[in-house]
Symmetry: C2
Subunit: 198 residues, 2 copies
DNA sequence: AACGATACGGAACCTTGTTCCGTTTAGCAA
DNA sequence: TTGCTAAACGGAACAAGGTTCCGTATCGTT
């Protein structure tokens, strides 16, 4: 590894670097206002660049979304082991981690929907989330199962997908995704009585 | 009411009636093959009519979907009271009814996704499902709550939406929507308040 | 048979994602 | 400073899908 994060193998031109930054900012702003499915042209306009520029930096729309949210996804992934180490029980850690995940999805207008969309264009996005988060979830799930708190026949993939699905449409005030996820997690529990610290 | 279901107020022309039938058949066939989001042009081609004909009979794509599935939605709605009357407990009735609903959604490729889509065009569809099924679900939920089997702080709307959401992407063999719905319903059971996630 | 209302077909239009290419510009070297 | 070239840019053009519109064909009645 002879190149640091800063100076890459072949440095990009200054205007290109500047534009990438501008684009990320514009996209983030538009996503907040109009959701992640906002027209590419809107983002280009907001950033003051042509659509071609977007596609040169981010080959597909999914890549742009990933770039915008990468930090937060990483943070979520990294929180898994930390929670496991610091929580009273594995089940508590799992619950808190799921809450982080849900908070993330619920605050990103339309992200949950797009994540499950079978639209081929969003494959990369789907894959990225899964690759990054399923292992973390598996770890938490295994720990909770090992401690006997929850049933062990549910894969992390299924849980995450279920939770992701429940987060769709969470903008509707009549629909509280967080509460439903809590119900789902409650349903995961092995035996109702004797809930305290083991 | 001076007109029966058969002879309407102003009878449609014979070719129009024929076409409507043809269209429903074609749409049903296409929906099975390609999902409910299949291009309108495909349906028109399959039916051997122009796209204009589709829009004349069904002002929006949602109206076509409703027309295709109306019978089954009605059947589901009517099953509610029956189950309540014949099941051992209200909770059992609720569980079975939810199963009916889930089976319906899971077997209609893409329907669940479209149902929750915030795309304005599908408003009618969303509304129809809600209008028809929420009252039924409320009845079951109230009965189960009254018998003390489940917590009573969840509205039918929320439950149905949650279940509908969980059914999205059920075509994936790695994802068993039915099981997750069962977990959710399990979580509904009256439990020590404020369990788990703190 | 003729006529008006009804219904039809599909071209045309709009929106949105994506590609392509002629033009502009940054960065370097003379 | 000036020239040169690879890199980057802008936006027109293309593709795909939903929806509208209107000239034409057909039905049902007189």
């Amino acid at each position: 590894m002879n190149d640091s994060d800063e100076g890459a193998a072949r440095p990009k031109r200054a205007d290109a670097r500047r534009n990438e930054e501008t684009l990320l900012d514009a996209a983030a702003a538009i996503f907040v206002m109009s959701g992640v499915e906002a027209p590419v042209r809107d983002i280009a306009a907001k950033a003051g660049v042509g659509v071609g520029t977007i596609y040169r930096h981010f080959p597909t729309r999914a890549d742009l979304i990933i770039a915008v949210y990468r930090h937060q996804v990483e943070a979520c992934a990294e929180a898994g082991p930390v929670l496991l180490a610091t929580s009273a029980t594995p089940h508590a850690a799992l619950g808190q981690w799921i809450n982080l995940f849900v908070d993330f999805l619920v605050t990103k207008h339309g992200l949950a929907a797009v994540l499950q969309s079978d639209n081929a264009g969003f494959d990369t996005l789907h894959t990225y989330f899964l690759d990054r988060l399923v292992p973390v979830c598996t770890q938490l799930l295994d720990a909770a199962a090992a401690s006997g708190e929850i049933r062990s026949d549910l894969k992390a993939f299924e849980l995450m997908r279920g939770v992701g699905n429940l987060c769709i449409g969470a903008e509707d005030p009549r629909y509280d995704a967080r509460r439903l996820v809590e119900l789902l997690i409650a349903g995961l529990r092995q035996a109702p009585p004797d809930v305290g610290i083991t």
